[in-house]
Symmetry: C2
Subunit: 187 residues, 2 copies
């Protein structure tokens, strides 16, 4: 069985397929075109994080809010911004006004064709409870940027995994003009 | 067929297997325990990057040097440092003296159990050609930290994908005491 790209399909599940070409194996999602990850900052310089149990890792993981981007008819940018707004609200209860794209790139370029786009939502406001849909068990954390390193270290010691995407978000947040930037106050 | 973790194995290739548990599908590598990614800085504040064609993405990707960590008998930290030193030399021709762990975490926590460790190698020195082994087609780039944003933007315009792991490395590099830090001079 061959895909459009000339790759051989080794296996296809409900959500994932494994492909092989030129001796290289990789995985693709069957139901989406990409993912969006949201760096959401409140007006008082706090970063909105979540944690949830992740079956592949068998651990709770501290992450930025994120979600898959559907394959609807609108333009790619509209889909991204819409998905970011929806996932932020569903997972954290925070509403975003303006959403700005920071960068996009591959999740793990030897393993998968998955890419994600990181967006920045400034001055987000709490309007709901969050926690995800009925299948999700998401806890919300709102952490002052000035204390983020200490907070992450404590969570790591407590047994959580920390998503490295948080650090790539912090790189861009630290470069934002005040009042969003707060990292210069950290220890 | 069931794995040790009680997950059902949907498919197993030479390098990857797909598992399912509680309706969730994910992918695991069959031949390794993790990956190491190397943020290598020269004494004159340049970052060592590579680009290579990545079959899963069908594009050349600008990345940090990286490699899989084998499953040998030594301790995990020894394996990591050894793998980092070997991959940096093979891929870039640069030799590392001291190697410091920065963080570890999941590559894409909904998709895979893969985690990676980011290490920092300061004052690396060119001792060979790099370019990877006979199966690899790796180009080496040594980029002044003060110009990194401009350089990455040009590469993106030229059609390369940019690995977001670079930004998480830059977050930590920017926090290093001088003479490694050089990001404060960027535009």
């Amino acid at each position: 069985m061959d895909s459009q790209s000339g790759a051989h399909i080794l296996a296809e599940g409900r959500f994932l397929r494994v492909l092989r070409r030129s001796g290289w194996e990789w995985v693709e999602r069957t139901n989406t075109t990409g993912a969006v990850v949201i760096a959401a900052i409140t007006s008082d310089r706090q970063l909105v994080l979540i944690d949830q149990f992740r079956i592949p890792l068998d651990r709770r993981v501290i992450e930025l809010p994120a979600g898959l981007v559907g394959d609807l008819a609108e333009s790619k940018d509209e889909r991204l911004v819409e998905a970011a707004r929806r996932e932020l609200l569903e997972e954290t209860g925070y509403a975003a006004r303006d959403i700005e794209c920071l960068f996009d790139g591959p999740s793990s370029s030897g393993l998968t064709n998955e890419t994600f786009t990181m967006v920045l939502a400034k001055d987000v406001q709490k309007v709901g409870c969050g926690g995800g849909d009925e299948t999700e068990d998401i806890r919300v954390h709102v952490v002052p940027l000035a204390e983020i390193e200490t907070w992450l270290a404590l969570k790591r010691e407590a047994g959580f995994l920390i998503s490295p995407k948080i650090y790539s978000a912090l790189y861009f947040i630290a470069r934002q003009p005040a009042p969003v930037a707060g990292l210069e106050n950290s220890p």
